[in-house]
Assembly symmetry: C2
Homo-oligomer: 190 residues x 2
């Protein structure tokens, strides 16, 4: 739980006792590689903080029938289907483990308790939500404004760890290009 | 300023004096229809709360050269280029008035002052950021999973006022279809 402790302290001030109380609201869960953390159509009951491993949030594109990767999350990242988690309605997305993954899960009720007990946590979650929104905006920006080559460079520069951790075909999907195109661009870079 | 007062009180509790102090940090600005609120490449210095009128956030698609509408905001909505506003770096988007528009503008420094003086405001902004993120997720979901007809129906159901206020070609762009397709779908509905 130490990494979440450190992560929270990067953004807000809490003393040891307060942090212990905040952390007592989380439930540790382990997922095996390829386990489904959330199935599309189910309600997302948790917001997940990743202690180790890697999770992918995706959606099936109805026209092409292929999987579209919306978010790739690694150690120290939060991931959830926010609309489903916040409004407790069926999710449009799927979350799947891409490695054996250890998370700390925060239920909706626990989220509300933490925020009402420790109003400082609002700032922490506001900041996390902002980062999350910015990553969505960047994904759209990349697709609108950058060539495939520029998108790959932008991704490697912004998320070097992700680039090492996730299989290439998932990164290709996240970047809106085929796996073949990504291979070709990588070959050209060498 | 009364509508922002009411809007804040929907989400958090502040007394009259606290609200007055919060509101003292905002600057009223008027834009004429077609005025640019933010030019792509400039730093976005404000988060805008719309008192009346309508603003559009968009980007030029480098491949097609056409404008891609990313967000449509009306009375009681917040709008900004979050990455630019938060990190004070050049924006990738443009914000333009689609009607004569009155806003209350909150600068980055004012935002920080408001949050440190009134920590309850963190909850308000956390909630606004969540709603904003959910609308981005929904835009991606619609494009992935719904037919053009379903997207239009989803939009009219979700944002009936937007549908009345914004020109059809902007709604078409937001929904990822041509203006002709939108007209055809509307004709079919009659």
């Amino acid at each position: 739980m130490d990494s979440l402790r450190q992560h929270i302290l990067k953004y807000i001030q809490l003393d040891v006792q307060q942090l212990d109380e905040v952390l007592s609201h989380f439930t540790p869960i382990n997922f095996k590689k390829k386990d489904y953390v959330l199935n599309s159509g189910s309600v997302c009951h948790y917001d997940y903080y990743i202690l180790s491993g890697a999770l992918k949030l995706s959606q099936i594109n109805a026209t092409s029938g292929s999987e579209e990767v919306l978010s790739l999350a690694i150690t120290d990242w939060w991931i959830t289907d926010l609309d489903s988690f916040r409004n407790q309605k069926p999710a449009h997305t799927t979350i799947q483990a891409e490695q054996d993954t250890e998370v700390l899960a925060l239920s909706r009720e626990a989220f509300n308790s933490v925020c009402s007990q420790f109003p400082q946590m609002e700032k922490y979650f506001r900041t996390m939500t902002e980062k999350h929104l910015i990553s969505w905006m960047n994904r759209v920006y990349m697709r609108n404004s950058l060539s495939a080559e520029e998108r790959l460079e932008h991704f490697i520069r912004s998320y070097p760890e992700h680039y090492e951790i996730f299989p290439r075909y998932l990164i290709a999907s996240y970047l809106g290009m085929s796996a073949e195109m990504l291979s070709k661009l990588r070959a050209r870079k060498r």
